[in-house]
């Protein structure tokens, strides 16, 4: 990570922010939501609190601007420069500007506002650009899923170098002790979300989300019920990143961060191993999705906008990868959250949509709601 020269930082821990100009490409409510989530990404790591105001001068003034907007850093139209922000300080300090010429979005069909805003607020709090490609403060755009975002280690170190860690309250809790509430089941039919991982396991299809997984027959939509992951996969706990099965070997693989577990059915086969066993490069810290293709006997690993191909027979990563997912799988747009092959089709789960991809036609043949897979 890097700080600005002189290491400017805010001398107070309650900062106001205000969106003074919105963009036509998103509703104000969506912009407000993305901004709030982006600020929260930082306030989880340091003892800063952000208060929104709707008039007057805030510490962090946020606006969508076009071309030359008076701060000697003119925007340049679509792509290129997406946004900029100023280091902490009076007046322009902390202010954050987004290029109105870009197509802003809450998803993937355009530039994800949460992703760019979280980066820019890092500047507004005092961070410069990082040379770590996995850092949020890396200069080039790389989509982040707002609903699964965790501040990368490099950024945590940087922001805590300025403001120290957010401490849990050391003293007696002033509030009456509230017993830890039993977190409710996620909204099972929340049509805006996707699955973390999907795989066949024997004759059943397993769909994972947060701490829950559903089991179902492939051709039968009845009798689908949620289970807690810990009940069947205690080591996995929650938030499985990816999973796939090699039916010929009766083995399934479950991925979480840089580790994976092998199971035979529901039986764990030994301790976790590292994903670098497959020949993935060290810069890959986790995978987003995995799918085993029966005919070529290859497993595809999806990481961000790219994917790798692993030859299960030769037990090694294929050459000439990674490739760009959207370029190779036409019609599959956006970030692949999960994938599974059924009856010769590859199903790509991306946010609230599932793309059914025909490998013969090399195109998407249908798109359904992801939540329909669990009976919604």
């Amino acid at each position: 990570y890097r700080l600005f020269p002189g290491e400017p930082k805010w001398k107070k821990n309650i900062l106001t922010y205000r969106v003074s100009k919105y963009t036509p490409s998103m509703s104000p409510a969506e912009v407000d939501k993305a901004v709030e989530m982006a600020l929260r990404a930082w306030s989880t790591a340091v003892p800063l609190n952000f208060v929104r105001i709707n008039s007057g001068e805030a510490d962090i003034m946020i606006s969508f601007e076009t071309g030359d907007h008076g701060d000697s850093y003119p925007f340049d139209g679509p792509r290129g420069t997406l946004a900029h922000a100023f280091a902490p300080g009076e007046g322009l300090g902390g202010d954050t500007h987004f290029d109105n010429a870009e197509k802003w979005t809450m998803g993937m069909n355009g530039f994800n506002l949460f992703t760019v805003a979280a980066h820019e607020f890092g500047h507004a709090l005092g961070l410069g650009h990082s040379t770590d490609p996995s850092a949020l403060m890396y200069p080039t755009y790389k989509y982040q899923n707002p609903y699964r975002f965790h501040l990368p280690k490099d950024d945590v170190k940087g922001i805590q170098a300025l403001y120290g860690p957010r401490k849990t309250f050391p003293g007696k809790p002033t509030m009456p002790h509230i017993p830890p509430h039993k977190p409710s089941l996620p909204d099972l039919c929340d049509s805006s979300s996707s699955f973390d991982a999907v795989t066949m396991l024997g004759k059943e299809l397993l769909l994972f989300k947060d701490r829950i997984f559903w089991r179902r027959q492939v051709h039968l939509a009845a009798g689908i019920r949620p289970n807690t992951i810990t009940s069947s996969f205690p080591q996995l706990m929650s938030n499985v990143d990816a999973a796939y099965e090699v039916p010929e070997r009766g083995l399934a693989f479950f991925f979480k961060g840089p580790h994976y577990w092998i199971t035979r059915g529901f039986q764990m086969q030994g301790p976790p191993r590292t994903i670098y066993d497959f020949g993935l490069p060290r810069r890959v810290q986790r995978i987003d999705a995995a799918v085993y293709l029966r005919k070529p006997q290859k497993t595809l690993f999806f990481v961000g906008e790219e994917y790798y191909s692993y030859d299960e027979r030769k037990k090694k990563m294929e050459k000439d990868y990674p490739k760009n997912t959207e370029e190779e799988f036409s019609g599959v747009s956006g970030h692949v959250d999960a994938a599974v092959e059924l009856n010769g089709y590859i199903y790509f789960f991306s946010g609230p949509k599932t793309f059914k991809y025909d490998t013969e036609k090399e195109d998407v043949v249908s798109v359904v709601k992801s939540s329909s897979w669990i009976g919604c």
């Binding site: 020269p5 850093y73 420069t81 900029h84 200069p139 755009y141």
Partner: protein, 85 residues
């Protein structure tokens, strides 16, 4: 200029312009009194900035606008400079 390019002549003018704009924006300290640049006679500030960019992004430091470097230059990004500013 041709020495900067590993690319084919066909693309070098537009790429050169793109690169020059990029380096002006992100690798040329601005603001405040413009610090004079003391460069050795045969030094080329553009080559120096290309090397600075390649070093920042962990690329092979060649001082040339090779395809990998141009790929980075074409990627959408944040408008805050990469060098101290």
């Amino acid at each position: 200029v041709p020495t900067l390019f590993a690319a084919t002549p066909r693309t070098f003018r537009s790429s050169y312009q793109l690169a020059q704009d990029y380096l002006d924006k992100y690798y040329t300290p601005k603001g405040g009194p413009q610090a004079g640049e003391m460069v050795v006679r045969q030094g080329n500030p553009m080559v120096r900035k290309i090397k600075e960019l390649q070093s920042f992004f962990g690329l092979q430091v060649t001082g040339k606008l090779d395809p990998t470097t141009m790929h980075v230059i074409k990627r959408p990004r944040c408008g805050v400079p990469d060098v101290a500013n």
